[in-house]
Symmetry: C2
Subunit: 114 residues, 2 copies
Amino acid sequence: MAVQIKHKIWLEQDNAMLMGKGHVLLLKAIQKMGSLSGAAKEVGISYRKAWKLIDHLNSTAPSAVVELTTGGSGGGGTTVTGYGNELIGFFEEAEKESRLVLEKQLSKNETLWK
Amino acid sequence: MAVQIKHKIWLEQDNAMLMGKGHVLLLKAIQKMGSLSGAAKEVGISYRKAWKLIDHLNSTAPSAVVELTTGGSGGGGTTVTGYGNELIGFFEEAEKESRLVLEKQLSKNETLWK
């Protein structure tokens, strides 16, 4: 029997969602696409939903995670700040560390599934 | 800013849920109450829902996790097998190890939230 161990992590502040995997995927899509509308399309959610996710995080976290770039040849867009990049790094590191420890527990107890 | 890191773990087999926190809480309620109907009430779900959760796990796992006890002064009931107890232990240990590693990541990066 092939059993997988799955996990999901997220950050809360005052018992309310602050940042989850959805935020991370959206921030990474902003990095790639250079705009919130492009990022929303990339991850397959509405612009309104993307805006709400980012706006809440941006206004709640101690520093801004994205900033608007105005003008330029592309007519402006959205970029992830250095702080936003640090949050992405933190989230992915925590996710990885948790995954490693869970995989270890699973292989340590593999006789349970035989 | 007080940020908490949250997590959820579960086991899958062939991309289908095998066992999650709900199963563990229900198994522990069976230990306590001695019957599936008592356990369902204890955790606040319907008997039908409790039956489906346990039946799927019981028929999918390599060994039975619960067994019916017939007769006796109480008129029979449901008990958790030794194997079921091992699964509970495994799940809680994995959950704890993951929580510890996540808390460590959070305190290592506490400057992110200041």
